[in-house]
Amino acid sequence: MANTSLLKLEEDSRIDSHIAAVSKRLGMPRRAFLQFCATLATSLGLPPGADAAVAEAVASKKRPSVIWLHFQECTGCTESMLRAEHPTLEKLILDVISLDYHETLFAAAGHQAEQARKSAMMQNRGSYLLVIEGAIPTRDGGIYCKVGGQTAIELTRECAADAAAIIAIGSCASWGGMPSTDPNPTGSSGVATVLGKPVVSIPGCPPNPYNFLSTVVHFLAFGSLPPVDELGRPKFAYSRLIHESCERRAHFDAGRFAMEFGDEGHRKGYCLYKLGCKGPETYANCPTVLFGDAGAGTWPIGCGCPCIGCTEQGVGFSKPLHMLAKVKNVDPPQQYPRIVEEKGMGATLGSAALLAAVAGAAAGGAAMVARNLGLSHQAEEAERARAAGQGTEV
């Protein structure tokens, strides 16, 4: 992390050759590669100079081995990863991480696949990244989800034991998500509950792939996972309410709401709060990062669909879709301005009389003082004249 500037980085011939090699492999012009690194550093909320550290790490560090487990899930998280465009997942697999075990993307099957996992764990003992997608059933000894004869609980514990870091991707792995919805017949739980220790979680259904990529790149560049909140969510992505950056916020503040789907307000892009949008109580960066690399408006609220609160335990998959959100960040004022503001009144009899009386008294006093001063001046002048007259006579 010696470099704090991309320009300096390019002067360093050793790193520069790495960058050249990496951009060649990725089929990306070197400028696009450096831009990608800067974008990742920015979405992580890192200070200026971190882009150089990211570029250096991606270009020259050994790609971390990643083991990706799937339990009770729909593979939506992986699907959304596959739709990341900057860079595309295959480029990421090839160059940023070394995906040694992933059930959906594996060509191998059966014992061959299990063998790959075991050998990756052996070779990268203590340095591999464990990513878990999907909830873990805990009822009846965890028999409701098995891979290769092992329950999800056993697999999680086995793989977690020697992992350098554990990332729970998606709402299911974060706290149980959709499978844990009442009555939760299989006892679905999140990774942190099963392991009994906090892990970094990237909730969302699916989560934004950039939040995952940025977390991995942070691990790569700085050797640690990014700072997280009390629920294990990276702060760079989950520290602000959707409501805070929502493009429809002005409508909320002005009291313009869509009252039902397809009504005039809905068509005009008014606030979806009254349709049950959970933006006011959900922490996520959806309005700023957007989805699918397709440009402005490509996120649920942008498309006219109320937020379901998928990144927020207790909101997503548990609160009914039509239910009003609890507005977390807007405290109502103690007083509201009056609808018709008093515009003041003119002079009252009392105030005008009082002012006139005092002005009159002041004027009278001043006249008296002036008169006395004038009289004494006249007397003095007369006396001086008399004295002068006497002086000439003498």
Binding site: A366, R371, H377
Partner: protein, 389 residues
């Protein structure tokens, strides 16, 4: 300090209880009552302020006009120390005394006018500074000036208490405070005019000009001399003392010079901006404009000649005229010719008026107390007494 020898200052002496101090005491007590009500029940409970007129009598009267009337100390110091006219030195202390009370009470009055007065200390707390604000500049300047003035005036108390060593040490650094005491008022009196500029087109074009800072500064200096004329005459009349006509006469001439310059700037500005026509429309605003400017022109008729300036009655009336002009300049700009939109109106309520009267009463009472008990006015015997036969 001036090298010229003058009569030393001495307390006037005499009883503190008389009709004037009694009236002042009553007015101060009434003011205190209104202020207590205001502090507990809010501005709306005692004032006629509204969203259209958020600055009423307390700001315009007590602060803008109060501090302008308190420019005597600054104006005389300017004459004595900057233009090195030592012959006016005996006027410094009484003038400074008036300024001291004017400013201290203006500072106190603004606290009462703050909506959330318990946050008043924010403006002195570096974390809250908004260094781009003209209000901040005025607040900081006025506060500093009040402190500077108390230091400038402290020799009076030190002499009374007989602390000669402290007095001698203070004398060595006093020039710094005297210099500050001239710079600071020049800064904030001009900024008070800037406040009018930032009000935009709510202010009538007769008073809305980018030159307003200069106009306010010039009028404040003029007003300072006017107040000294008024003060000297009233003090002499009330204490049955000789009037310092030998000093007031040439000083009044200086005042007329500055005032002539003021009037040239004022009317040249109106002419250049092409709004002089406003003054000839049949409106009450034109009327008050002419009363204001007639007050500035009247002294030229009253005390235009050396002989006329020898008459204390004329000096006194000229002082009053200048004060009236300065008061109207501020009242017109901020209240009378201030139009914040259709429907809004303001006239001070009885409690508001009572507070303003109380503040002026406090100034009068303070002046009487200090001059009677502390060495402020020049010792009377030192003057050649007129032969009484």
């Amino acid at each position: 300090m001036s090298a010229q020898q003058h009569a030393a200052a001495a307390p006037v002496g005499g009883d503190l209880f008389n009709a004037t101090t009694l009236i002042c005491g009553v007015l101060i007590a009434v003011m205190a009552t209104v202020i207590v009500v205001r502090l507990f029940f809010g501005l709306g409970s005692v004032t006629n302020l509204n969203d259209g007129y958020s600055w009423g009598l307390w700001v315009v009267g007590d602060v803008f006009i109060g501090s302008a009337l308190a420019c005597g100390g600054f104006s005389v110091a300017l004459l004595v120390y900057i233009f090195n006219r030592g012959e006016y030195h005996p006027l410094v202390r009484p003038a400074l005394l008036g300024s001291l009370f004017g400013y201290t009470l203006a500072g106190a009055a603004i606290t009462v006018d703050l909506g959330r007065w318990w946050n008043f200390w924010h403006i002195f707390w570096p974390g809250y500074f908004n260094v781009n604000s003209v209000m901040f500049e005025v607040a900081a300047c006025i506060t500093l000036y009040i402190i500077v003035m108390w230091i400038e005036f402290s020799p009076v108390f030190l002499e009374k208490l007989g602390l000669r060593d402290v007095r001698r040490k203070l004398n060595k650094v006093l020039f710094i405070f005297i210099a500050l005491g001239i710079v600071l008022p020049m800064m904030h009196q001009a900024s008070l005019g800037t406040m009018l500029v930032v009000m935009g087109d709510q202010v009538n074009p007769l008073w809305q000009t980018p030159l307003q800072p200069l106009i306010y500064l010039l009028s404040a200096i003029t007003l300072g001399y006017g107040v000294v004329l008024f003060e000297s005459c009233v003090a002499a009349s009330a204490y049955r003392r000789e009037i310092e006509v030998s000093m007031l006469n040439p000083m009044a001439r200086v005042m007329l010079g500055i005032m002539a310059f003021y009037l040239v700037v004022r009317f040249a500005d109106l002419a250049v901006r092409g709004v002089l026509g406003e003054a000839f429309k049949p409106t009450y605003i034109a009327l008050t404009f002419w009363i204001e400017n007639a007050s500035f022109i009247a002294p030229f008729l009253l005390i235009g000649s050396v002989a006329a300036r020898r008459n204390p009655a004329r000096l006194f009336l000229a002082g009053i005229a200048v004060m009236l002009g300065g008061i109207l300049l501020r009242l017109n700009g901020f209240l009378i010719a201030f139009d914040t939109g259709p429907g809004w109106s303001y006239f001070p309520s009885v409690p508001e008026l009572l507070v303003t009267f109380g503040i002026f009463a406090a100034e009068v009472f303070g002046y009487i107390y200090i001059t009677r008990r502390f060495p402020v006015l020049p010792r009377e015997e030192a003057y050649a007494q007129p032969a009484r036969s």
